[in-house]
C-alpha cells in the first residue's frame, strides 16, 4: 500500500492513534519503543523529542492539548509539585497546557513541521494562546465539527495533501520556501472570503498572476476576473473607466459605457498599482468599497455592485498615507493587516533551483521548441527524444541525469545566479533562464552525445553572465554614457533644476515623447511613467512644446 506520510501522534491516550490505524491504514504511524513493548503514539515530550529528527522524522504531528501525566513527565521542568494547594493548582495548569508547552519545544526544532491539534480553536480556553496558534502558519486546529476520530483523520489527510501540491498554480510560482508556504496557507484562507484584499511585493514577484491564477479561481465566484492597471489610464478617464459613464457626460462619451466594476460583477476586480489612483478616484473607490454601490459618471443614481476588489501595490502605502498621497480610510478598507506580501526572490533563494527547472519545463513543453530540440538531437546523431527533457544546474548534475536530453547550465554561471540580487524578481529570473535556453536551441553550439547516448545541450555561460550584467545595469538605472548641454545658471539650486530639465528634454527627444519608455530608461521600469510626466510638467516643460 502506498504510504501517505509519516505521522507522529503525541497524546496521553491511545484513541487518536487507534482511529488513525483503523481509518487511515495508509498513514505510517511512528512507533515509540517502551521497554520491550512499542506503541504508536508518544505520550509525553520526552518520548516525542528523539523522534523529531533523522531519517524517519515525521512529516506531520498530531498533538493533543491536555495530558494527564505525572509531574516528572510534565513540561516545562518535570519537577515534583507536591500536594499543597499551590502544587495542585500548578499541576492542573501544566496538564491543561501541556500540548502548548510541547508545541513550543517542537517549534524550536521544527519551525515548519505541520502540527494538527486534536482540539478546535473554539475549545481552547486560553485566548492568548489560541490567537498565537492561529498566527502560526504550520499549526492547524481540528475544525469544531470534526473532533471525532473520523474528523481528525480527514483534517490530517488535508494537511498531508498540502505537501504534495505542485510548485505552480497556473503561471504563479510558489516554490517550497518557508515564506511561500506561509503565503500559500494565508491565500487559501483569505481567497474564498468576500473581503477586499491588498497584495504587496516588489515588481516582478507575480502579484497579478497570484490574483488571476490563484485568488480568483479559489474565490468560487462565477463572474469574470477583470484586471485594471491604475497607472496606464489617463487621470481624466480614471473615474469613467472604473465606474462607467453615461452618454454625453464628457467630451467623447458618445454612448453609455460600463466600467470595470460592472464588468467584474460576481467576479474579481484586480486594481494593479492602486497607488496611482487620483484623489477623486480614491474617494469613489472608497465609496464603492464602503457602501457596495457605484455611480456612473454623469448619472444621478447609484447602483449596487457585486465585484470583489483585490488591489496590488509595490509602493509603501502606509508611507503614502503619511505624505497625503493615499487616503488612510481607503487603505483601511483594503484590510492592510491581512495584506498578502509576496517576498523578493532574493529572500527565498532556496526556491531558485525549483524555479529554474519549472521555467525550463514550461519552455520544453512548448511543441515548437520541442521540435527544434528534437532537430538538434538528430543533428548530433542521437535518437528521437524520449521522455522528459531536463535542465541540469551543473555539469556533474548533468552527468548524473537519466534523461535522454539534458540542457546543461554551467556550474559557475549557476553560482553567479544564486548570488545575484534579482531586482526584477521571479519575472527577471524566468526571462534569463528562458532566454539562455532559447539561445542554446536556436543559436547555440548544438548538442553532443555522451558515452551513454544522452544528448547534452550546453547553455552559453558568457551569455548568462551578459544577461546578469545587463540586469545589473538596469538595476543601477543604466550605465550608458549620456551627453547633455551644460546649463548656465545663477545658483546651484537653479543649476540642478536646469540640469534636470535638460535631462528630461533629452529623454523626451530620444523616446519620441513616450513617458513610459522615459520611465523605463530612468528607473528600469515603466511603472513610474506618471511620476515622470508630472515632474516633466512641473519643470515647466510641455509635451506639445517639445515636439
Amino acid at each position: 500500500m502506498k504510504r501517505s506520510g509519516r505521522v507522529l501522534v503525541i497524546d496521553d491516550q491511545p484513541q487518536v492513534a487507534e482511529a488513525l490505524a483503523r481509518l487511515a491504514p495508509d498513514v505510517d504511524l511512528i512507533e515509540v519503543r517502551h521497554g520491550a513493548d512499542s506503541r504508536r503514539f508518544a505520550r509525553s515530550w520526552s518520548e516525542a523529542a528523539p523522534l523529531l529528527e533523522g531519517r524517519r522524522a515525521p512529516e506531520a504531528v498530531v498533538l493533543d492539548l491536555r495530558f494527564d501525566l505525572p509531574d516528572q513527565e510534565l513540561l516545562p521542568d518535570a519537577r515534583p509539585l507536591g500536594e499543597t494547594a499551590a502544587g495542585k493548582r500548578l499541576r492542573r495548569e501544566r496538564r491543561e497546557r501541556q500540548g502548548l508547552f510541547i508545541l513550543e519545544r517542537l517549534r524550536r526544532r521544527r519551525p515548519d513541521l505541520p502540527v494538527l491539534l486534536t482540539t478546535a480553536y473554539e475549545d481552547i480556553a486560553f485566548e492568548e494562546e489560541a490567537l498565537r496558534l492561529k498566527a502560526d502558519a504550520f499549526t492547524y486546529a481540528t475544525p469544531e465539527e470534526e473532533t471525532s476520530g473520523a474528523g481528525i483523520v480527514a483534517a490530517l489527510r488535508r494537511i498531508l495533501a498540502e505537501r504534495d501540491v505542485p510548485p505552480r498554480t497556473g503561471r504563479f510560482f510558489w516554490g517550497s520556501s518557508l515564506a511561500m508556504r506561509e503565503l500559500r496557507r494565508r491565500v487559501s484562507a483569505l481567497a474564498p472570503t468576500p473581503m477586499p484584499l491588498l497584495i504587496t511585493g516588489p515588481t516582478g514577484t507575480g502579484k497579478s498572476l497570484l490574483v488571476r491564477d490563484v485568488i480568483h479561481p479559489l474565490s468560487g465566484r462565477s463572474g469574470a476576473f477583470v484586471p485594471f492597471d491604475c497607472a496606464t489610464v489617463p487621470d481624466g478617464l480614471l473615474s469613467s473607466a472604473l465606474f462607467g459613464a453615461l452618454r454625453g457626460s464628457f467630451t467623447g462619451a458618445i454612448a453609455d459605457r460600463a466600467g470595470v466594476f460592472e464588468a467584474a460583477a460576481d467576479g474579481t476586480l484586480f486594481l494593479d498599482e492602486v497607488e496611482n489612483l487620483t484623489g477623486d478616484a480614491q474617494k469613489m473607490l472608497l465609496t464603492a468599497l464602503h457602501d457596495g454601490r457605484i455611480r456612473r459618471v454623469g448619472s444621478a443614481t447609484e447602483t449596487p455592485h457585486t465585484a470583489r476588489v483585490v488591489a496590488a501595490s509595490n509602493a509603501d502605502l502606509g508611507r503614502q498615507v503619511g505624505q497625503a498621497q493615499f487616503r488612510s480610510d481607503l487603505l483601511m478598507r483594503l484590510n492592510p493587516s491581512l495584506a498578502l506580501e509576496i517576498p523578493r526572490l532574493a529572500e527565498r533563494r532556496e526556491d531558485m533551483p525549483e524555479l529554474a527547472r519549472a521555467t525550463a519545463g514550461s519552455f520544453f513543453a512548448d511543441p515548437r521548441h520541442g521540435r527544434a530540440i528534437a532537430a538538434l538531437v538528430r543533428a548530433a546523431g542521437g535518437p528521437e527524444p524520449d521522455g522528459p527533457i531536463v535542465l541540469a544546474l551543473s555539469e556533474p548534475a548533468a552527468s548524473r541525469s537519466e534523461s535522454s536530453v539534458v540542457f546543461v547550465l554551467p556550474g559557475k554561471a549557476w553560482a553567479a545566479m544564486e548570488r545575484h540580487p534579482w531586482p526584477g524578481n521571479v519575472r527577471q529570473f524566468e526571462m534569463v533562464i528562458a532566454d539562455s535556453i532559447a539561445a542554446a536551441v536556436y543559436a547555440g553550439a548544438g548538442a553532443s552525445l555522451d558515452r551513454s547516448g544522452h544528448a547534452l545541450i550546453p547553455l552559453d555561460a558568457r551569455m548568462l553572465f551578459d544577461l546578469l550584467a545587463g540586469a545589473r545595469a538596469g538595476e543601477a538605472g543604466g550605465s550608458e554614457r549620456w551627453v547633455l548641454d551644460r546649463p548656465k545658471s545663477p545658483s546651484v539650486a537653479l543649476f540642478r533644476r536646469d540640469l534636470e530639465r535638460a535631462a528630461l528634454r533629452a529623454l523626451f527627444q530620444e523616446t519620441g515623447g513616450d513617458f513610459e519608455r522615459m520611465a523605463e530608461l530612468m528607473t528600469g521600469s515603466r511603472r513610474e511613467a506618471r511620476a515622470v510626466r508630472l515632474r516633466f510638467n512641473k519643470l515647466g516643460l510641455s509635451a506639445r512644446g517639445e515636439r
Partner: protein, 129 residues
C-alpha cells in the same frame, strides 16, 4: 465568566465531550453488534491510559466533584450542567445494561452520547463568553 469556569468547561469538553463519540461514524451503524461494540468502547472506556480506563459516567462524576465550585448557581451554565446531569443519569442506567440492550435501547444510548457532546460544547462556549 470566570477563568476557572471557562477552563473547567474546556476540560469537560475535552475529556468527555470529545471522546464520548470519538469512534462514531457519520451515520449510525446498521449492524447492531458493531453499534454495541462502539458504544462499549466510547462510553465504557471514555478516558484511557495504559493501565486504567474511566467510563463516561466516571469522567463526569470526577469532574463534577472537582469543579462544582467553579460554576455559580443559577444562570445559563447551571442550566446546562443540570441538563447534562440528567442525561448522564440515563446513560449510567443504560450503560450498566449494555450487553442486554436491544436495538432501540442502543439507539437511545447513542442519542444520549450526542446530547452529552452537544451540551459539553454549549457549556464550553457559554463559559467562554
Amino acid at each position: 465568566m470566570s477563568r476557572s469556569a471557562s477552563e473547567a468547561a474546556a476540560r469537560l469538553r475535552h475529556d468527555l465531550g470529545k471522546y464520548i463519540r470519538f469512534s462514531a461514524p457519520e451515520t449510525i451503524e446498521a449492524d447492531t453488534a458493531a453499534l454495541r461494540e462502539r458504544l462499549r468502547v466510547d462510553v465504557a472506556s471514555t478516558r484511557r491510559t495504559e493501565s486504567s480506563a474511566l467510563s463516561a459516567v466516571e469522567v463526569y462524576d470526577q469532574w463534577r466533584r472537582a469543579e462544582a465550585e467553579s460554576f455559580p448557581p443559577g444562570g445559563t451554565l447551571a442550566e446546562i450542567i443540570e441538563r447534562l446531569g440528567r442525561t448522564i443519569e440515563e446513560i449510567r442506567w443504560l450503560s450498566a445494561e449494555i450487553d442486554g440492550l436491544d436495538r432501540p435501547g442502543l439507539e437511545r444510548l447513542d442519542a444520549l452520547t450526542l446530547v452529552v457532546a452537544t451540551e459539553c460544547r454549549a457549556l464550553a462556549r457559554a463559559a467562554k463568553s
